[in-house]
Symmetry: C2
DNA sequence: GTAGCTGCAAAACGTTTGCATGTGA
DNA sequence: TCACATGCAAACGTTTTGCAGCTAC
């Protein structure tokens, strides 16, 4: 269990490279969003991004960009029951595979009081998944999110 | 692992009793919502309820009622990443205690294709919760939701 | 009688879309 | 040049709120 994300902030160059590899144009907005996501230690909402970019682009553009990034598996959507989504850089263990299982799989703990978000690295749910497979389900994905009170708020 | 919910549909009488015990008025709408939730084998959205009640009351009333029921722990909110919430009857193991831990804790599997929802009875995440406690978090709650393809859709 | 419930209308919120203009390759 | 990206405005679906009238107790 580690406190912070394991990826490192992208440089402008590497962000552009990443966009190129994904077949996306290297526009100002796309680069900027990648930089903000890659340097954040926690998943960001569209509002977060809009503020960090000082409203220099429209939220609709952010949503459209996010949609493209999701499709290319550059980022992952995170749902912490806040009424909106957050997004974080994908951490792919094997860059050749695109299925969700091949992303560096992890979850989050969020403090119900102050909203602090920490990352949980380990994910071993094999017993659950086997049991559900017995119900006839395949291609399983799961989401496991914790909330609690962090030490400051307890 | 069981397929269906373990609670039984309420009678009109028992619904009124439940409302009385919770200090809520025994109005037509409140009784009706309790009956619909208690007889459903899966969590219902506000839209679901509105349709089942044949639009005989306003959605805003349903939302307000739902909020009261949640506060009194009569129902639980379920988030299956559909863009809206669902609600189901609480299954309290110990009716004297009100903390989330004392609800009959369970989760769901939802088919990404047809939306079928099944219930998972077991919930053993002690290893996870202990690890997170080490991060300094207390009063933990968690949400574990699976999606996959059910046998019909695979 | 009064606190609480309801319907209606309007608004809030996150998100999506259409369209006209602007930009990257 | 031309597909793609963007800003703006308008719409969407879910949820919340204000207010006036109604109902349970």
């Amino acid at each position: 269990m580690e406190k912070h994300c394991c990826h490192s902030p992208l440089s402008e160059e590497s962000a552009k490279e990443l966009l190129g590899h994904s077949g996306l144009n290297r526009t100002k907005v796309k680069v900027r969003i990648l930089l903000e996501l890659s340097k954040s230690s926690r998943p960001l909402s569209v509002q977060d991004l809009h503020e960090k970019m000082k409203q220099s682009c429209d939220v609709s553009t952010i949503f459209r960009t996010i949609a493209q990034f999701k499709e290319k598996d550059l980022i992952q959507e995170v749902n912490l029951d806040e009424g909106f989504f957050r997004y974080e850089m994908s951490h792919q263990e094997n860059k050749n595979k695109k299925s969700p299982q091949h992303n560096h799989h992890h979850h989050h703990v969020r403090c119900r009081e102050c909203g602090d978000i920490q990352q949980i690295e380990k994910c071993d749910l094999t017993a659950f998944e086997k049991a559900i497979a017995k119900l006839g389900f395949t291609e399983m994905e799961h989401r496991l999110e914790f909330t609690g009170l962090c030490s400051r708020c307890a």
